[in-house]
């Protein structure tokens, strides 16, 4: 079993150490200590990995783009199967499949990151014992093993701390990891969930876990070396930013975030001198997700125009 894992892991050790080394070479050009250079290189590695996963993210955004359009159907299903949670979930998923619109990201991004995380863990552990691994040679692991930021070794863990600085930095990092995860979850739940999904026993359980899990998370994080916690924190920050982007630009329909976006869009329309149009669009606040703002206006106006033609006493400027 161990042999099998190392067979799968070896190419990953090389790949991860190569990216890490490349960033280290870059940061070595700066007048900083080697500890800082290796640390910043870990952050560079995180950014590289997350940037490589952007296509998955874009694909997910695209597949959730028509959520607004199928919203009436979702509402219909909720009315029909609201009493039966299981059936509602089945029918909603069926609808997502049939319309090619699915708001969920799948677990692939997570699964892809797990072996990378474990590889970095092994690289750091080996470096702590001065064992070369992947593309890291003896000089590299000696540097990493002795590398310090704020007086704390980057390959040190909270279970075997060298000095108090390790403890302080580890605690700060555990708090940062917890805080970023917490904020991300909270933002998702408070801004991007419809009010009816926020009630019920399921939502209650989720709310409780929202407070309990950061603690579990912190306990788990204690065993990881400083460098790995930095990777995790950076990755969490990236997730937070990514989610902020989604909630702002592709909010789930019928949520506070969707309302905020509708308000912003309306304010924008007014700013761009479509004040008269804004009065008309105020009613159908839920409009096509985003995209060609300029082209949408005339389309909407002609429809109005068509309606207005039956009421001849309100002339509208044709564009």
């Amino acid at each position: 079993m161990g042999d099998l894992l190392s067979t799968i892991g070896t190419p990953l050790y090389y790949a991860i150490s190569a990216i890490w080394l490349a960033w280290h070479r870059l940061f070595d050009l700066l007048p900083i200590s080697s500890g800082w250079s290796w640390t910043l290189a870990i952050i560079g590695l995180t950014i590289t990995i997350r940037a490589l996963l952007i296509p998955l993210f874009v694909k997910q955004i695209k597949s959730s783009r028509n959520m607004q359009l199928i919203q009436p159907k979702v509402k219909e299903l909720q009315k029909k199967y609201g009493h039966d949670r299981e059936r509602l979930a089945q029918e909603t998923m069926k609808l997502y499949k049939d319309t090619g619109t699915n708001p969920f990201a799948s677990c692939l991004p997570l699964i892809l990151q797990m072996p990378i995380f474990l590889s970095l863990f092994h690289l750091l552990r080996n470096a702590a014992d001065r064992h070369p691994k992947g593309f890291l040679d003896q000089a590299d692991v000696d540097q990493i093993s002795g590398g310090k930021i704020f007086g704390a070794g980057i390959s040190d863990t909270l279970t075997h701390p060298d000095n108090t600085n390790v403890v302080v930095l580890a605690v700060i990092l555990v708090i940062s990891m917890t805080a970023t995860t917490f904020i991300t979850q909270r933002q998702l739940m408070s801004k991007n969930m419809p009010a009816d999904a926020m009630s019920g026993p399921y939502a209650q359980q989720q709310k409780l876990l929202l407070y309990v899990l950061p603690i579990v998370f912190a306990v788990g994080g204690i065993a990881f070396p400083i460098g790995l916690m930095l990777y995790w924190t950076t990755s969490n920050l990236w997730t937070m930013g990514q989610q902020f982007y989604v909630i702002r630009n592709n909010p789930a329909p019928g949520t506070p975030a969707a309302q905020a976006k509708a308000d912003r869009d309306r304010a924008k329309a007014v700013r761009h001198g479509h004040g008269d149009v804004a009065v008309d669009t105020a009613a159908p606040a839920v409009e096509a997700p985003e995209e060609p703002r300029q082209r949408q206006q005339p389309k909407r106006q002609t429809r109005e125009q068509r309606k207005q033609s039956s009421r001849p006493n309100q002339p509208k400027k044709d564009q």
Partner: protein, 86 residues
């Protein structure tokens, strides 16, 4: 027949669903979610075939898949004891 592997797998899956899964919220493009599917598959089909089914399901769950309703298939033959183990 006692299947200790099944016992361990069910325990691991339950721990995952309790502790790790909520960290990420709902991300699964299918119903039931991959972990529910895996738990059910192992319970109904045993550790070997159940794991195989679960691995295939996770492989199917990616941003290019349409998702949808995808329940665990029924046991192949009636001689497999399918009493609800919970």
């Amino acid at each position: 027949m006692i299947d200790p592997v099944k016992f361990v797998l069910v325990g691991l899956l339950k721990a995952y669903r309790l502790l790790i899964s909520p960290l990420y919220g709902q991300v699964c493009r299918y119903h039931p979610s991959c972990s529910t599917y895996a738990l059910h598959a192992v319970e109904v089909h045993g550790s070997l075939r159940g794991s195989w089914l679960a691995v295939r399901r996770v492989g199917r769950c990616h941003p290019w898949a349409a998702g949808g309703y995808d329940p665990v298939p029924a046991p192949r033959s009636s001689r497999v004891h399918t009493g609800p183990s919970h």
